[in-house]
Structure formats: structure tokens, C-alpha cells
Symmetry: C2
Subunit: 229 residues, 2 copies
Amino acid sequence: MAIRKIEVRERLMERNDVIARSVRRRLDEFGVFTLNLVSSPGSGKTLLLERTLDALGSEFRIATVTGDVQTQNDADRLARHTSRLVQAVITQGACHLDAKQVETALEAIDLEFTDLLFIENVGNLVCPAAWNLGEDAKVVVMSVTEGEDKPLKYPKMFTESRYAILNKIDLLPYVPFNVEKAIGFARDVNPSLEFFLTSAYTGEGMEDWYDFLRDRVAKLRGAAWSWRS
Amino acid sequence: MAIRKIEVRERLMERNDVIARSVRRRLDEFGVFTLNLVSSPGSGKTLLLERTLDALGSEFRIATVTGDVQTQNDADRLARHTSRLVQAVITQGACHLDAKQVETALEAIDLEFTDLLFIENVGNLVCPAAWNLGEDAKVVVMSVTEGEDKPLKYPKMFTESRYAILNKIDLLPYVPFNVEKAIGFARDVNPSLEFFLTSAYTGEGMEDWYDFLRDRVAKLRGAAWSWRS
């Protein structure tokens, strides 16, 4: 029975990857820089996105897809910070988004008028690691209240991510958390992981994150321009 | 294919429940009060158990089973606080413990000389909710850094739990978290949920938790006594 389970799972994953590649092609075609934000529940993904929408919403055309197990609380929160449609996917118990859900969500988003797409995955440090959604990169968000050894305990999430945000740094004076140790553990698992240190709550460190997004969007625009001309 | 997936899943769950009932019978037979601790990563389960082992280890015979996706970090931490064997289960990527893993772990634990068993589940607010391990009750641990709406976003975990620990209350002055609102949301989902407010880090509120454990062990001993005599 274990073998049967694995076979079904592999077929589901293959099907997911086919759809993810098709999503990837559409996003490439329209030059949309797409980040898939993953984390454990409560790391501060939603507040980070609210702040990002506030800060960059007039510079860029930002679309958002949020996944939740049961509610659309996060989508409601984001909707207060953008005039654009926030696509809420309720996974009905599943611990991750899949490419089909993203593909469906994108049908309602005008990609031609989109520079940046944030996919806020279900809060879960295990399942979303295995599911490619067609994104440019996964960003793992980890808060300083979580303990430094999370990269060792959930290595797949950290190897699958290209960027890491260490959030809630305003709480560093009050928690037993060693930033260097945490970054060291993360780089043991994935040496090329790029880190941002932020407090979405106080705003500390957010400018680096915004500058990174500006840089990526500018590069994609340049590429789309040269490709079209 | 979706139907096929559901069928396989249901058969796996049925098999799990059969084993869970057998684990349950063994624990009942030996009068072992068993709690299955569930939470998102970084809520402080391991520190809570370290403190509990320190505080009650001379009063009671406490056994522990810890589940981790990849490492045995938590087991190593707990082992420094008990002279008894800590059973580490590495789930190899799975986002929860299952009853078979607990059954196997219990083979190495002398239940006759055990009053309390803590099962520290994989840090995950979705998957462990669906898996019965033969425990007396699930205890959901939530920290005040996580946001008040977690019970609404992960309702199954809160309906499946009989107890909830709101941990890291020492951080309340520094985070935007309303305790009454969080408890209210949790009780919307599960009106009979019993709450403990703790800081495993500073020790605040831990005596209530210890008294609760003392009370449950005393009751089980009384029951075992009357049943045997």
C-alpha cells in the first residue's frame, strides 16, 4: 500500500509540474516577477505584503494570490492595501497551494498590466516546499521568535528557497535568538540563500527588500523591452 | 485521479485509526496519561517540555516521543532534561507523526514505569490534526507572536485539541496581540477548549500547567488503583 501511495503521489506531482511550467511560460511572456512566499504560520508574511503594497503600490502594478486552509482573512487584509483584485484560494484542508490553483487564480488577473506577483502560500514549513507554482523564486520567511534551528529541521524549505526573510527583528532584544547562528544554519543547508533582515512591524530593514524588488522588476522590464524590440 | 487519491488516503487513515486504538488500549492498561503536543514550528513546544521535565521529573516517571521531519534536535534537547530514553522519530519529510511510528517508539518504553507520556508532534498546524496517535488529548501550543486569528485559519487543529497553551506571554508588551480576542476566536471554533497562559522562557504561568498534569496523573493513578484492587 505504501508503494501505491507513492505512485499516486508521483503522478500528482508530475501533473503539478506540467501546469507549473505552463504558468511559468505565461509569467515570462508578460515579464511578471513572481515570488512564492512560504513560512510557518505567524511569521508575518501577510503584514510584510501589506507594507510592500503600501510602499510600492504606486510604483508597480502588483498582483497577489493568497492561499489559506479555511478562511480568506489574509486576502481581506491585503485587499485593504491595493485597489487590485486579491485572489483568495481556500485549500479546504490542504497544507499548500498547487499550480492548478494558481493557474485558475491567474485567469482573473490581467498579466499584461502586472509587474510583480506575490503568491502567499499556506503557512506551513513542510508541504509547500514540494510544490512548484511556476514562480521565479520561493522566499522563506522566518521570524526571530521561532528558534535558530528551523533551517536544519525543515531543510527542504530552505534548499528550495532562493531568498530568506528573517522577520520581526524588532523583537531581538526580548528573545533568545542568535542571528548569525540562524543564518549559518540556513547556509549550511543552502549556501546561496540571500537574506533580508526585516521588521515589517516597525519598518526596519524593509528598504533593502523594496530595493531588491525594484531591481528585479527593472531587470525584467529591460529584458522584456530588448526581447520585444 | 482525485478520487483515487482520496480512496488511498481513506484506507491509510483507517489503518492509522486501528493502530491508534491499539496504542490507546496499551496506554490505558498501564494508566499512562498521554498528551500529543501540536503547533506551528517555533511556538515553543520543546522548551515547554524541557521545563516540564525539570519541574516534574522527580515527581513522575515521564516518557517522551518527539517527531521531527529531518533532525533529532528536539530529542537531543529533551535528553538533557531526563534520565529516561527520549524516542526520536524522524518522519523523512512527512508533516506529522502517525500511530505506527508511536507504536514502534513505545516498544522501547517501559509503560509499567511511566505516569506521563508526551508526544511532541512535527511542527505543523495542518497535518497532525488528522492523525490520531492514541493520545488522551491533543494540546495545541500557540505563541503570542503568531497573530490572534490562527484558530480561524487552522480550525481543525483547534477543534481536535482539548487543551490550548498560549505561550511566550512574556512578549505581550512588544507584540500587537490581544489575548482575549485570540481566546475568543479559539472558543468560536471549539467552545470547550481549556487554555493555559504560559511563558516557558520566564516560567510565568507554568505552575498552572504543572498542577493540571499533577491532577490528571493523580486521577489516573486513583482509577488504576481501584481497578486493580
